[in-house]
């Protein structure tokens, strides 16, 4: 098997001139290229009859045979590779949005997860609000029942979902509030706080902030 296609590639570098030669005058380098890189014999007729060439070629072929055997081994990617890659791709594409703030000397891009972090921290700064970070918490499978002790982000992601288009962002935030507080007012405070913080810190306009209250918990419970 020769693994190097293309006839124009056949001469070994430096094979034309000097280098070691067999007693018959054949270049050792040429014979080497012939065996290992599929180069065409310089003088096929001579090789067929020359004992020096034939012995040397036989030695080289035997030496190189295991290389060709290894190269010919069929290698297949592990079965789970495609799935693993695509799972990561889908996870990524959920959070790879950028907000773009055009400026006179170049534009500023703000990654969606930055916007998400700002929104989350803004919401958390409102009294009586706790927000879920997916990290060490139990995630709620789609259609599953939320764990009453936890509020869950999406599959170990933050609870803040962000869509960004140009300088306008849509924030979808999930919060937990202390038991007993007036939820509509708290949600309104969260909305206002997120809009304020986003504007101050990123220069982005929140055109929509959807607040979902997913849990209540007794006051003073650690997150």
């Amino acid at each position: 098997m020769t693994a190097v296609p293309g006839n124009e590639e056949n001469a070994a570098p430096g094979g034309a001139g000097g280098g070691d030669r067999l007693p018959c005058g054949a270049s050792v380098d040429d014979l080497f290229a012939q065996v290992t890189a599929g180069a065409r014999p310089r003088d096929a007729d001579h090789q067929r009859t020359c004992p020096h060439c034939r012995a040397h070629l036989a030695e080289l072929q035997e030496l190189w045979a295991p290389v060709e055997a290894l190269a010919a081994e069929e290698v297949r990617a592990p079965a789970g590779l495609l799935q693993a890659v695509m799972a990561q791709v889908r996870e990524l594409s959920r959070h790879t949005w950028y907000a773009v703030l055009p400026g006179p000397t170049g534009s500023t891009r703000v990654a969606a997860r930055v916007v998400g972090a700002v929104a989350r921290l803004a919401a958390e700064s409102v009294p009586h609000v706790t927000l879920a970070l997916g990290g060490g918490h139990t995630a709620t499978p789609p259609g599953g029942t939320p764990d009453p002790d936890r509020i869950a982000g999406q599959e170990s992601e933050s609870a803040t979902d962000v869509g960004v288009a140009g300088t306008r962002v849509v924030v979808d935030v999930q919060i937990a509030v202390d038991y007993g507080v007036p939820i509509p007012q708290v949600a309104e405070q969260v909305r206002a706080q997120i809009i304020r913080h986003l504007d101050a810190q990123t220069g982005l306009t929140a055109s929509e902030v959807d607040v979902t209250v997913v849990d209540v918990r007794p006051p003073g419970t650690a997150r």
Binding site: F32, A33, A37, A65, V85, S93
Partner: protein, 173 residues
């Protein structure tokens, strides 16, 4: 937008399906470790996905993504790999009979293992062009494009690598 992105993902999955065996083979010969090879290919494909918008058009996808794989193999090697121990000389002499007639299946498997070891012992600058040409069937031109060197340089390095590999195999006989 959501639909367009979903379409992109399907297209990308098709690309992965087409190229994964070849990419994995390159990574496996470069690293010598199935586990490392899988990590390298997964990370490379993810990197390719993330940079897909900057890629579009200016090179063949296979060239571009193979280049990412090879670069990652290089970094992996620099970062973590301890030097591979070479097979003991006497063992090698005992297990690699020079007469083809004496070869059994087990012996030929051991000889392929010796090639694997010899390949890993090559410096990166030689191993990469050798893996791409002899093991992956790339032309010198393609190999050069993948490695960011000229076709001539790819040819010279591949040749040097074959020499070094055969010298090593000869020593071990």
């Amino acid at each position: 937008m959501e639909l367009a992105r979903a379409g992109d993902e399907d297209a990308f999955a098709a690309l992965v399906r087409t190229h994964q065996d070849r990419l994995y083979a390159v990574a496996l010969r470069m690293t010598g470790e199935p586990h490392d090879a899988q990590d390298v290919v997964q990370e490379a494909l993810l990197q390719a996905w993330q940079h897909l918008p900057t890629f579009r058009g200016d090179a063949r996808f296979s060239t571009w993504v193979t280049r990412i794989v090879v670069n990652r193999c290089h970094n992996l090697r620099r970062a973590a790999r301890p030097v591979q121990p070479l097979p003991d000389e006497e063992d090698a002499a005992a297990t690699l009979p020079s007469s083809p007639a004496a070869e059994t299946l087990a012996v030929s498997a051991r000889r392929r293992e010796a090639v694997r070891q010899a390949l890993l012992a090559l410096p990166f600058d030689q191993r990469a062009p050798l893996v791409l040409t002899t093991f992956s069937g790339c032309t010198y031109g393609e190999t050069g494009r993948i490695l960011g060197i000229s076709e001539g340089a790819a040819k010279v390095r591949a040749h040097r690598a074959r020499r070094a590999l055969s010298d090593r195999l000869r020593e071990w006989k």
